[in-house]
């Protein structure tokens, strides 16, 4: 089976969707029924280390040139499946799948699939043979507006790299960030002024009460973005400046070292399609706290891995933080094993076989 993968980014890029696509392509390369995968990304900058039978073409950043190249490819080569890695690319992918008379496989992640879209997207989805959603929540939100048969929308969760495992904190890093003798609440995520859904402000709001019970607590924010000044202001206004540390962006490769600094990972978000970072934190052995109103529930496995809280309840957030910092945790971080790559790859194999003609 030959697969044409039309994606925003995959190999040689960072971010949640790129990482998901890398793992998906790796899983496909292991599937016995897939001969090769041709990946056409819009963006890629880094080195291109692709699995054996996966080939990634040069990126085409412009939407028009990317669409033109996709069409050109489809006219010259024959594919058995067309994979569409982002809903925004659906009109082009659906057109190409039609051209190839090949089954269309659409991947949906998070907020891009939550709000109703226009007719062209509804029709595109109606032609899809398979839609994979990273979480039950995204699936439910998609089915609320798309008219596709529910049986064609499957859940394919995020998975995590085996590099994430419990480890000792690096003393240099502890010293550099001034964390010695402190109990650390950690959030890793973009600080976007447009989105503001990750819940950093909710945790800052909970800090005064948390400190009353856990005086050595500190909040470490990893990630960068244009919302940082507002969050810094908020910390100042609440007198929490000394307890909030902005560590800036950290490359993926250094994430394990950062996770090793923390005592609890908390992100009471309302906008997660899934939240792969929950898996990485749990795999690092951390107690995890997340929201209960979005895809986070999947990453927390409904409480089996971490503690779901109502992100709009300061009381619940505060209690969960105090409990976690005091060693009273609910959920078993080790239960994150269910999201390990071999199980993901096995599921990908089962899914792609349903597309075999």
């Amino acid at each position: 089976m030959r697969i044409l993968a039309l994606v925003t980014d995959a190999f040689g890029a960072g971010g949640g969707i790129a990482r998901y696509n890398q793992q998906l392509m790796s899983a496909l390369s292991q599937s016995g029924c897939v001969s090769d995968v041709l990946v056409l990304p819009r963006h890629a900058t880094g080195a291109l280390l692709t699995p054996a039978n996966v080939r990634q073409l040069q990126p085409s950043p412009g939407r028009a040139s990317w669409s033109a190249r996709s069409t050109w490819l489809a006219m010259r080569q024959r594919f058995d499946v067309v994979f569409c890695g982002h809903l925004n690319a659906l009109p082009v992918a659906a057109w190409i799948a039609g051209l190839q008379r090949a089954p269309l496989w659409v991947q949906v992640h998070g907020i891009e699939a939550w709000e109703p879209r226009g007719t062209i997207y509804r029709h595109g989805l109606a032609t899809a043979a398979l839609v994979t959603s990273v979480s039950r929540y995204t699936r439910r939100k998609l089915l609320a507006w798309a008219d596709i048969a529910p049986a064609r929308v499957r859940v394919l969760p995020n998975t995590f790299a085996s590099t994430h495992a419990p480890r000792q904190a690096e003393p240099d890093l502890v010293a550099r960030l001034g964390l010695a003798g402190r109990r650390v609440i950690l959030t890793v995520g973009r600080l976007s002024a447009d989105e503001r859904y990750k819940g950093h402000d909710r945790i800052i709001g909970a800090l005064p009460e948390v400190l009353r019970h856990v005086p050595d607590a500190v909040y470490l924010i990893v990630g960068s973005g244009d919302d940082q000044p507002r969050l810094a202001d908020l910390a100042r206004q609440t007198g929490m400046s000394d307890y909030v540390i902005f560590a800036g962006q950290v490359p993926d490769a250094e994430l394990p070292a950062v996770l090793a600094l923390a005592d609890v990972f908390a992100m009471p978000s309302t906008g997660e399609g899934f939240g792969i970072v929950f898996l990485e934190a749990a795999a690092a052995g951390l107690p995890v706290i997340g929201g209960n109103r979005d895809g986070s529930l999947d990453a927390l496995a409904d409480g089996a891995i971490g503690r779901p809280v109502d992100p709009n309840s300061p009381q619940e957030i505060t209690t969960a933080l105090i409990d976690a910092l005091s060693g009273r945790t609910t959920g078993q971080p080790a239960a994150v094993r269910r999201f390990a790559f071999p199980l993901f790859a096995d599921h990908v194999d089962r899914l792609v076989r349903t597309l075999a003609r």
């Binding site: 439910r140 529910p150 999947d298 496995a301 269910r338 899914l351 349903t354």
Partner: protein, 615 residues
């Protein structure tokens, strides 16, 4: 006859199933099965079944469910009756299969072991069941050809859940309560929620005559194994190849087929009673029950003070039929006070909103009071024998309006004009849609059975619900879809639509919730796939003028034929004075409160719909 439910954590990321949830869902259906409870959970905790039992066949513990095969590979939870289970069992035993009980449930296990999904073609009866195959790790669900027994499911992407009732799935606590616009729109269009939709987005009905398989990636799309239109088509093909019109021997064939169905429907280890009205269908069935060898028959008729001395009063004629066949007969009088006292329980038991079912509630209540566990009903006679006015009206409308309805824009213009004139002249809103809809069977059927017309939905629902709901539901394509592969005769077309839509979504569903709330199993010998196959050619091939003759054949089929007073009585249906009783009742709930109050001058069924949606 029971209630079934189950949970399967099919996805690798899903948690093991929650036993407390399994029990909550099951116990919500306690009334469906007061004689026993059962549950089974696989050792790995990934799958579990629940069962509430109303014991009717093999009352011993050997018939208890969920039931596992001797080798432990298969487990079944089953709601319904397999009327040909004895014949199936004999055939299975002849092939060397060893049985451990006398129940029809065990037949399902052996049959699935032998034939897999294809087993459904061998079954005669009403059924909804699920079979877990531990070897292949698959869950198989099936529902009878007509959809007599209900089966609902919810697949959230990780975990699959099923149950006999929608409200029971919700009671489990793990199923989303997002509303389904197609279900809401469907309810206002027809007065019942059309399958596969329910009023909840997360819950679907397994369609009648369909099967479903759940494996490690989730639920498949339902697969239809039976189509009423197909049966009529095949009968027409056979008739054409014989070049023989339905002739003199049709009465004999009708009688033989009916007696065979009634005989099958009497299989039970408890007494089987009957609902009796003043109509042909139930009367003929009671006569045939006697012919089938049942001499002790408890019959029950519903009567209302308000109808005493009027043509609607069924009691005097029903009593006459009871005397004719020597049944032990009870006339049960229902009063407005009782109706009002029962209404909260009725609304609670009503699994999905429906504008009908009150009559079945009370007649089932009466049967239960008499100690009956099983009662035969004449439901389905009008669909099979062409008893509704629609068999006359729809073909006539289609003939008259086929051409005008094809003239571009004429239908819409006529409707707009008609809407204005209609309001002024106090005409039914449907009149306005005659030209636009009346020219096709699907359109004419929508007019005939519609509660609100599509253009009126904005009066009762929000605009985006109407737009999404209509788009998803596609009322006309949905009706037309039931007609595939297109039987030729007008009778076959209308019979198909009435059976596959009105009877399935309204009558059978109402009968299920209203009877099961009183722990009563209702059996419907006139709703039987084998009977349909035998009679589709006989009745369906009759010229329209002879359709009435078909109903007369039903009346004549018992050895003691029904008297002329019954057969010539004008049709009233099994009615209740509910229209009068509904005055002053105000909406009390939250489901989909109509945007504007439905005017008090509207037809009672429309006002009732508004109240139900709000309940």
């Amino acid at each position: 006859m029971c209630a079934i439910n189950g949970i399967l954590a099919y996805h690798y990321a899903a948690n093991p199933i929650d036993r407390a949830e399994l029990v909550r869902t099951r116990e919500h259906m306690a009334a469906r099965g007061p004689d026993g409870t059962g549950e089974w959970i696989a050792e790995d905790g990934r799958v579990g079944f629940g069962h509430r039992r109303l014991s009717i066949i093999d009352l011993s513990e050997a018939g208890a469910q969920p039931m596992a095969s001797a080798d432990g590979r298969l487990v079944v939870t089953f709601n319904g009756e397999i009327y040909n289970y004895r014949a199936l069992r004999r055939a299975l035993e002849a092939r060397g299969r060893v049985f451990r009980s006398r129940s029809d449930t065990e037949v399902l296990l052996h049959l699935y072991a032998e034939k897999g999904e294809a087993m459904v073609h061998d079954l005669r009866g009403m059924f909804a069941f699920a079979i877990w195959d531990a070897q292949h790790r698959t869950l198989f669900l099936a529902r009878d050809p007509y959809g007599i027994k209900p089966l609902y499911y919810a697949d959230d992407g990780w975990t699959f859940r099923f149950a006999s009732q929608v409200k029971a799935l919700l009671a489990g606590g793990a199923v989303s309560r997002d509303p389904e616009p197609a279900g809401q729109v469907g309810f206002y269009l027809w007065g019942s929620v059309p399958e596969p939709f329910t009023t909840w987005a997360a819950i679907r009905a397994l369609p009648a005559g369909a099967t479903l398989m759940v494996d490690r990636i989730g639920a498949s799309e339902p697969r239809r194994y039976h189509s009423i239109a197909q049966v009529y088509c095949e009968a027409e093909t056979v008739a054409r190849s014989r070049h023989a019109p339905a002739g003199a021997d049709s009465s004999a064939e009708i009688r033989a087929a009916l007696l065979d169905s009634v005989r099958h429907h009497l299989v039970a280890d408890v007494p089987v009673g009957a609902f009796l009205s003043a109509g042909i269908d139930s009367g003929a069935l009671v006569g045939l029950m006697r012919d089938a060898g049942q001499h002790e028959i408890q019959t029950v008729t519903l009567a209302f003070e308000e109808f005493r001395g009027r043509a609607d009063d069924e009691a005097p004629l029903a009593e006459e039929i009871a005397r004719l066949y020597g049944t032990r007969h009870t006339t049960r009088i229902v009063t407005e006070a009782e109706f009002k006292a029962d209404l909260p329980r009725i609304l609670d038991a009503m699994d999905q909103p429906s504008i009908d079912g009150i009559n079945t509630w009370f007649v089932s209540k009466a049967a239960h009071e008499l100690g009956l566990k099983v009662a035969v009903s004449g439901l389905g006679g009008d669909e099979l024998f062409g008893g509704y006015p629609s068999f006359r009206d729809i073909p006539r409308w289609v003939r008259l309006l086929a051409v005008p309805s094809r003239v571009p824009l004429l239908g819409k213009a006529a409707r707009r004009l008609g809407q204005r004139l209609g309001t002024a002249a106090d005409l039914s809103p449907k009149v306005a849609g005659m030209v636009e809809y009346g020219g096709t069977y699907a359109g004419a059927y929508l007019l005939r059975r519609g509660l609100f017309m599509p253009w009126e939905l904005g009066q009762v629902l929000d605009r985006d619900v109407v737009v999404t709901g209509l788009r998803r539901l596609g009322p006309l394509p949905r009706i037309a879809g039931e007609l595939e592969p297109h039987p030729r005769s007008a009778h076959a077309k209308v019979a198909t639509l009435e059976s596959a839509l009105y009877m399935r979504n309204q009558l059978l569903r109402d009968t299920d919730w209203a009877s099961m709330a009183h722990s009563l199993e209702v059996r419907v010998p006139l709703v039987d796939a084998v009977l349909l196959r035998r009679l589709a050619g006989v009745v369906g091939a009759l010229p329209q003028s002879a359709s009435l003759e078909a109903k007369a054949s039903l009346a004549r089929s018992p050895s003691f034929a029904l008297p002329a007073r019954i057969t010539t009585r004008a049709k009233t249906g099994f009615t209740t004075p509910i229209a009068d009783w509904l005055q002053d009742r105000r909406p009390t709930g939250t489901l989909a409160v109509p945007r504007h109050a439905i005017p008090t001058t509207a037809h009672w069924s429309r006002r009732w719909a508004g109240q139900l949606a709000a309940a």
